[in-house]
Every structure is written in C-alpha cells, then in structure tokens.
C-alpha cells in the first residue's frame, strides 16, 4: 500500500538555517495494516504524512502510495486516499450535510450517489441529527467525527489520520475510535495515523513506528517493542537489612539489567516479568531473605522510547514545543 525509500524533507528557514525535518525514512505498509506513527512533537511524523498525502514535495527519496508515485503522479494518489488532517476539514460556515455531500461530488460521485453516501455516513457516524447545523456550532468531538466521515466519503482503500484524537476528552476519543475501527472493518481499509498519545498507539495500532529526529528508530508490534526494548520491571520490597543480599540474588536472574537498590526496595528489568518474579521470590526464600511485597510493572511505550533515546516522550514533547 505504501512504500517509501530514503524519504527526506528539508525546510529552508533562512539562508543559514535548514531544518532537516525528515532524514531518510524507508517504510513499507501492507494492505489492511493499522499503523501508528509515534513520536514527540517535531519528530517528523506530520511532515512524513504530508509528503505521503501529496501536500508537500519530498526533498529527496521516493514514495509510492496506493500504487502511484507521490512526486510524479500526485493526482492519482489523491484519488486513492482519504485524509483527515490535524485541523477541521469542514468549513466553519458550511452546513454539515452540504460539506459531506460536496466532498462526495469532489471525488467524482454523481449527485444521487453523493446524496445517498452522505446520508449513510451521517447515520453511521451518528451525525444525522446535526445534518442541518453549521460546522461552527458543533462540539470538538462532533467536528472530528465529521472530519472522519469526509475522509471516508469515497471509500478509500487507504486512510491517513493526522493526530485524530488530539484535543478530545477520553470519552470522545474512545467514541471516535469505535467509529474508526468499525469503518475499517467494513471497508477493509489500510490506516496510517500519527499520534503522540502513547496509550492510543498501544491499544489501537497493530504496528507502531517510532519516529524521532526525522528517522524511524523502531518498528514492530507494541508488545514486541516492549519485550525487546523495555522489558518488565520487577519491584521487590524486603525486610530492613536484607537489601544487599536481595540485590545479589536479583543480579543472578536471567537477563537482569538496571538493578537499582534503594531504601528497602529493589527494582530490576527482565524480559519476562511474570516468569521471573516467582523465581526471584523462591530464591529469596531459599536464602532466608524475607520478602515483604513484590510486583511486576508491565512497560509502556514511553519506556520503549526512553530506552531508545534516553529521554521520555513527555520530555521530548516539551523540548520540541520549546524549540518550535
């Protein structure tokens, strides 16, 4: 569905300053995949998406989207894809039904099909009662659903979503995702989205592409990334005076790393927490170290990011904003 090779984008800010927003991204997306591009602000996620959707031209490298080259055949690419940008696609002074119908006509539907199609989408995205409203009168969540409806009017095989749920409250986010996933099933769509919500990438995407400083730094399922790049964290609380002995035992665990002993607690990272924990407790009992409490903390994608870059996604976000 998508195939990019060494895609780059430079923005010339001034004569002396060029920003290398994307530095050689090679990415392949198969039909039917749901891929989340995750990274802090300024990582190059949106720039990459804008190149794939023909909004901006790559500085170098190639990208084929839905079978067509974005540089030489942007018109064909536009016909094949759906796009939901960061902003609101519907004009604020327009009425909901008009925009949806108009979008259908833009993509080449005749008047009757466009009408039928917009009614279907109004209904399935729960916008039916709002059809005659002006877009400016909608709430953020309603507007976002309309954006998604507009991206789906021509039943594209490939849908791009640029930070689809930014600014929505948790309930609206969950609701939007319900709709997106249902539509995906109905249309057997390929979906590529960008997000800086870790939990969103974690729970929704089947594949996570982590981007930082314009490069892909990891690309796998969320579970595999976590197992490979972060591992589970074990926390063991022992009775006072036993810390040094407990730390020794912990070091002997298979694949143990980042052992930290502090106060009466020991923290360690292992590949498989649920298996390692009973082993550790057993060893403690055998050597007479009283264990007061124990727990396994499963990693988040933030731990993955931290492991990859040495900084957490939130810090990187704050820095990205300060720099922007």
């Amino acid at each position: 569905m998508i195939s990019t090779r060494e895609l780059t984008k430079d923005f010339v800010v001034s004569r002396t300053e060029t920003v290398h927003a994307v530095r050689g991204i090679s990415l392949d997306v198969e039909p039917g995949e749901l891929v989340a591009v995750l990274g802090p602000n300024g990582a190059g996620k949106t720039t990459t998406l804008r190149m794939l959707t023909t909004l901006i031209a790559p500085t170098s490298g190639t990208a084929k989207v839905a079978g067509y080259d974005v540089s030489t055949d942007p018109g064909q690419v536009r016909r094949q894809i759906g796009y939901v940008g960061q902003g609101n696609g519907a004009g604020h002074s327009q009425r909901v039904r008009d925009e949806l119908y108009g979008q259908g006509v833009i993509y080449g539907l005749d008047s009757r099909s466009a009408k039928r199609r917009s009614e279907e989408l109004l209904e399935s995205l729960e916008l039916g009662e709002l059809a005659r409203r002006k877009v400016s009168e909608l709430s953020g969540g309603q507007r976002r659903r309309l954006d998604v409806a507009m991206g789906l009017v021509h039943a594209p095989g490939l849908l791009f979503l640029d930070e689809p749920s930014t600014g929505l409250d948790p309930q609206n986010r969950a609701n939007l995702w319900d709709h997106i996933l249902r539509m995906r099933e109905q249309y057997s769509m390929t979906i590529v989205l960008t997000t800086h919500y870790l939990d969103e990438a974690d729970s929704m995407a089947e594949r996570v592409v982590v981007v930082d400083h314009g490069e892909v730094i990891a690309d796998d399922t969320a579970d595999a990334l976590k197992a490979k790049l972060a591992g589970d964290q074990l926390l063991l609380t022992v009775a006072p005076g036993n810390l040094a002995r407990a730390a020794e035992l912990t070091e002997q665990l298979l694949g143990a790393r980042d052992v930290v002993a502090q106060g009466d607690q020991i923290s360690v990272r292992v590949a498989n927490g649920p298996e390692a924990l009973p082993e550790l407790i057993g060893a403690a009992q055998r050597t007479g170290v009283p264990v007061a409490a124990a727990q396994v903390i499963r990693p988040t994608l933030d731990d993955v990011f931290l492991n990859l870059t040495g900084r957490s996604l939130r810090e990187a976000d704050a820095n990205g904003k300060a720099a922007a």
Binding site: T54, L55, A90, Q94, R95, G102, I106, G108, D110, R117
Partner: protein, 270 residues
C-alpha cells in the same frame, strides 16, 4: 446501522464524470456560495451596499462636477460603482481562504483531486455572483433617476468585470497564502494597494482636473483602463479601442493573477 460496501462506491467513482476545470471550478464556486445563500441577511446587506454609496457620494459628485461629465453624473458613476464593488469584493476574498487555512478546510481541499486553479477561480467567481445581483439592483434603481441602460454593453461590461475579478481574487489568495503566518498583514497590505489603485483609476473623481503626475501614474494602473472601458460599455459602445484596452487590462490581470496565485498555492502546504 447502514450497510456500506466498498465495491459499489468504487464502481460509482470509476464510471463517474470526467474531471475537468469547468466541473472543478463549479464545485468550488457552489461550495463557496452555499453559506451565502443560507444567510439571506448578509446577502441583502451586501446587495444594498453599493446603493448606499451611490446615494451618499453621487449627489456630492453631481453638485461639484455635474455639468462637466459626459452623459451626466449617473452614466459616469454607475459603471464605476460596479467596478468598485468588484474591487472590494474580490480583493477581500483571500480573507475567507485565510480562515479556511487556519481551520484545515483548505488543506482538506488540497488533498482532493480538485485542480489547483479551480480552487482559485471558483472562489473568485463566487464573489462575482452577488455582483451580478448588485448590478441589476443598482441599474434598476438608477433608471428612474435618468440612467440610460444599454443592455448589450452592460452584459459585456459584466463579463469583463468577471475576468478582472478572477485575476484580482487570485492575487488576493496569493496574498492570503503569503501572509498566512501573520494574518493581520492581510488587511494592511490589501488596503495599502486598494486605495491608491482606486483613486488613481479615476473611479470616484475624474483625474482630468488632477495634477500631471497623477495622470501619468494612472496610465500604469490597469484599473484605469478597466474603468474607462466599463464607462464606454455602459454607454452602449462595445467596439471602441477603449473597450479593447479594457479587455487587455483584464486579461493581463487574470493571467498574472492566476500564475502568481497557483504558484503560491502549490507551495502553500509547506
């Protein structure tokens, strides 16, 4: 829940109408017109604006220059009012685009298969639709006051205004795109250009009585040729060289406007 299937839609799209500039332009224009039609109040206000100007400025003009103008003050002033309405309407049209830039609606349009030039032409033409309504109202109101209507010339005159308006609208869009990161700049630049162009075209007051430098400057103002051509056309003369110069000015404006506008638009997503 409705039952949606991919194949039907895909089939509908493949057997759909051929894309062309005319269809794209009309889609964009109709989209732009919809909010206007849904809001008749703004439409009515827009329609009577030229009448207000005519009622307040016309008598002053008649009082000070009444005897010196060819064919009377209304014959001289009514075509100028229509040019002025075009000038104000189309040069301000970029501000709509500016707003859609900020909301994301323009970006959405850029990802659709619509041609880039249709996005400019359709929006500029939208400004011309109320203008045609205004022209009819102005003329209808002024006929009892002695305005002499020559239908053929008037129709050609409006066509010429439409051509000029597309050009100016495109410039306005180019401006909106250029200043999109400091949007207040739009009105500063627009006004800075608008008033000198307007005054140096002899639209409101004849330049014949002005100083030499103003008359020379007006020769470099495409709007002067347009105003002269409109006055000639509304007097019923469609074949004079003044009209020809008006068309040249209009066509040069539209060619330059579209070139600049499309170029700016292609770079607008950066």
């Amino acid at each position: 829940m409705s039952t949606l299937t991919v194949p039907t839609v895909a089939v509908e799209i493949t057997r759909s109408v051929k894309r062309n500039l005319f269809r794209d332009t009309s889609i964009v224009m109709r989209r732009e017109l919809k909010p206007v039609l849904h809001d008749p109040f703004s439409l009515i206000f827009g329609m009577i604006q030229p009448l207000v100007f005519l009622a307040l400025f016309g008598p002053l003009l008649a009082g000070s220059l009444g005897g010196t103008l060819d064919g009377g003050v209304w014959q001289w002033f009514v075509p100028a009012i229509l040019v002025m309405t075009t000038l104000f309407g189309t040069s301000a049209t970029g501000s709509n685009l500016l707003f859609e830039f900020q909301t994301g609606a323009h970006e959405r349009m850029l990802v659709t298969p619509l041609s880039r030039s249709s996005l400019l032409i359709g929006r500029a033409l939208k400004e011309m639709v109320p203008l045609f309504g205004q022209a009819v109202i102005v003329v209808a109101v002024m006929i009892p006051f002695g305005f002499d209507l020559h239908l053929g010339g008037a129709v050609v005159g409006l066509a010429l205004l439409a051509v000029f308006g597309i050009g100016l609208g495109s410039f306005s869009y180019a401006l909106a795109i250029a200043v999109r990161k400091q949007d207040w700049m739009f009105w500063v630049v627009q006004q800075t250009f608008l008033f000198p162009l307007m005054i140096l075209s002899g639209m409101l007051l004849p330049l014949e009585t002005g100083p030499e430098w103003m008359r020379v400057a007006s020769k470099f103002n495409p709007l002067s040729y347009l105003v002269d051509a409109e006055r000639t056309l509304f007097a019923g003369d469609v074949s004079s060289t003044t009209v020809l110069w008006g068309w040249i000015a209009g066509l040069v404006t539209v060619a330059a406007g579209l070139t600049v506008g499309i170029r700016t638009m292609l770079r607008s997503a950066d």
